[in-house]
Amino acid sequence: MPIVPLAQELDPLVLSQWQFGLTTIYHFLFVPITLGMVWLTAGFQTAWLRTGNVDHLRLTHFFGKLFLINFAIGVATGIVQEFQFGMNWSDYSRFVGDVFGAPLAFEGLIAFFFEATFIGLWIFGWNRLSPKLHLLTIYMVALGTMASAYFILAANAFMQNPVGFAINEARERAELTDIGAVLTNPVLLASFPHTMFASVMVAGAVVVGVAAWHLKRAQHTTMMYTALRVGLWSVIGGGMLTFITGDMVSIAMVAAQPMKMAAAEAMYDTSSGYDASFSLFSLGTPDGEHEIFSVRVPYLLALLSTHDPLGTVEGINDLEAEYTALWGPDDYTPIIWVTYWSFRWMMGLGFLAFAIAIVGLWLTRKRRIEQPRWVWNVAIWSLPLPLLGMTVGWIFTEMGRQPWLVFSQMRTEDGVSPGVSGGEVLTSLLAFTTIYAILGVIEFRLMQRAAQRGPAEAPELDESGRPAQPVTVY
């Protein structure tokens, strides 16, 4: 598959792949922040109601504001995601709509309505609802975002590991036979908690980075120390659970898509036990032919794939032979350098953020907020690590699925819209790239400004505990 889109003359397939990849990665920069930050914001607001400590209310508004700036772009770019299945991948939509559409419709009916309604109530309802009812609205938003993640991951899990369907030969399409199976797909049951906990890590790192920026300048120290500790614990707690659920994901992946694991390790020959090693680093071309140097941990790949250090892991060559026998001659191997490195970067960035948080927790124990500048700088610059890790994790998941669009059922090249020209897709690709780039710059500046400005004064409260005046007015 060509990597540079213009290498092939306006091929709608390659352009559509680039568009889907870019718009999805972009959209998913905002999603995990939303998924995680809503819980942290809800946590601060709960702490305020329980303790009456006005600092917690200020933190709620402060991180709530960052959450909302981020949420706006998430909403705006989310519509593109739903539309482009039909616009760019119409043959895919025809083929799987009967199965794949249902979780998307559930997502809309159950999750999106919930989220969109209660976010409005939360933003504008501070002085209209009783404090307890108002607190309930942010938890409703949190539940909505979580349900949304569940259903969209159910749709994605179907592409990785299609279950609960049968092929209708007459209508040339996949049809749903068991909605329960689709909603309890083993890949989904692992990837949903994995995504949720990784999002907690992402949001925790954002809170840590912002708090460290203020602590470095010795401003808002009491509040920011609280935020820092909450953020560090989120990275650590979220991180540990991310690692545990990540292990569940890899077991489910090996069962459903053994090729993806082989491609993650660039392992060509089936190996077991000592030989099923995991390379931490490899120099040279990781295509198995010219390895110059590598650092390998014996048994580890077997352990990761099978939970048995002596287990057997199938290699690319054997899988190619097996798949050729099943579905005819083709290239069933994903782009190895992408899967190999994205798998390592995902884990590496996750572990790095986790390790930094552990050290940070120790250094700042018992209110030790006088730290050398480099400590705060490390904390600030660690802000994007979990987010980057999550992004490359999704690149691994989706690129590792190739050449399949729906594993074993439909190839990516067969899903693209037949009636849409390369010129049209180039137009949309350029339009989205341009708009997204502009919005990205604006978004980053707004977030940075709001974060650096620090928490606003707490609003005056009336006798019922509500702010006397609205907190947000557009």
């Binding site: 616009m87 119409s90 939509s93 309604t117 933003i123 749903l176 007015v473």
Partner: protein, 343 residues
């Protein structure tokens, strides 16, 4: 029970809800440069829809996803067939969505003017393009058979035919009128008076456009259902104009809402009653056995529709209840004092 037909009606209901609710958001957005003479006025206009525009827009996302699930062929054919139109529409919706949140982040006249322009563009473009798109669907689109389904053969210019354009302009004017009346309900004083006058002119224009458009629709498919719906749409539109004149704002708003419901229903009714149907997307150039996409040949399997029906049956009443409650919470008028407390 004929599940595909029921789902055709459910999706019709979702789009109707979308146009009634986001329709006034579009109108409010369009009226921003006309009514918003001062920054306070502009903020009152935006805050009138601030808490609700997002949940209104969500009806589109849910309608789209339900279309995907219940009529995959319709979703695939329409969305890929209207590629460039939908691209422009998406860019408009993106611009509007971020503007509400970004606009108030900086205290600068230039900054706000830029986002105001985005709100206007993001209101005009979707209203116009949805009108064009649905008029074309009702009229029939050039198509050829493809894998048991269909493929749109025309280009963007095919959509811009006289009937389609008239549909777009009607929707645009109707949304503007609907939004202006909404503002007269949600504001007071001078702004309210100007909203009245804008609604008056917009409703006159709408009535003119709508009568021609609805007549044209009736001529294309003179089924009794279409005639009744079209006539009622024209009557409610005229009623809205009169009610607005006598300043019965609540009733005027109910009338424009009814006009939106009935006009969109006229198009869905035309699909329903067209000979050889009920259709979801008829071919304008039927050839041999190929007539386009019908409710029967574009729908999902019975099992999928059954699952979807249970989900809709449980969720939609709840959705309507908590959305109604939201409107109740934010029922107060947006006065100048209300927006001046902050900033």
């Amino acid at each position: 029970m004929d599940l595909p037909l029921i789902w055709f009606l459910v999706i019709g209901f979702m789009f109707v809800m979308y146009f009634v609710l986001d329709g006034f958001d579009f109108g409010v957005g369009m009226s921003l440069p006309i009514l918003g003479r001062s920054e306070t006025d502009r903020r009152r206009i935006i805050n009138a829809i601030g808490p609700v525009w997002d949940l209104n827009e969500t009806w589109l996302i849910v309608a789209g996803a339900s279309l995907f699930a219940a009529f995959p062929e319709w979703y695939a054919t329409m969305f890929s067939g209207f590629f460039l139109a939908l691209l422009v529409l998406l860019l408009g919706l993106i611009a509007r969505a971020v503007s509400f949140e970004f606009r108030h982040q900086r205290d600068s006249a230039r900054w706000r003017a830029g986002w105001d322009a985005c709100i206007v563009a993001g209101s005009v473009i979707p209203a116009l393009l949805w009108g064009i798109a649905f008029a074309n669907v009702a009229q029939g689109v050039p198509m050829e058979p493809h894998q048991g389904g269909a493929l749109v053969t025309g280009s963007l210019l095919t959509l811009l035919n006289p009937y389609g354009l008239l549909g777009g302009l009607t929707m645009l004017a109707l949304c503007l009128a609907h939004g202006a009346i909404f503002l007269s309900l949600k504001t007071d004083g001078d702004l309210k008076a100007r909203a009245h006058r804008l609604a008056d002119r917009a409703l006159l224009t709408t009535t003119g456009l709508a009568v021609v458009f609805l007549l044209w629709t009736v001529i294309q498919n003179p089924a009794p259902l279409v005639i009744v719906l079209a006539a009622l749409a024209a009557i409610t539109c005229l009623a809205a104009w009169m009610l607005n004149r006598v300043e019965r704002d609540g009733w005027a708003f109910a009338s424009t809402a009814a006009t939106v419901v009935l006009a969109v229903s006229t198009l869905f009714g035309s699909l329903l009653t067209r000979a050889g149907g009920p259709f979801v997307m008829p071919a304008s150039d039927p050839e041999g056995g190929f007539v386009g996409l019908t409710v029967a040949n574009a729908s999902s399997s019975a099992y999928t529709l059954e699952v979807m029906s249970w989900a809709a049956l449980v969720c939609l009443p709840l959705v309507l209840a908590y959305q109604a409650w939201t409107y109740w919470v934010f029922r107060r008028r947006v006065t100048a004092a209300a927006v001046e407390v902050l900033h």
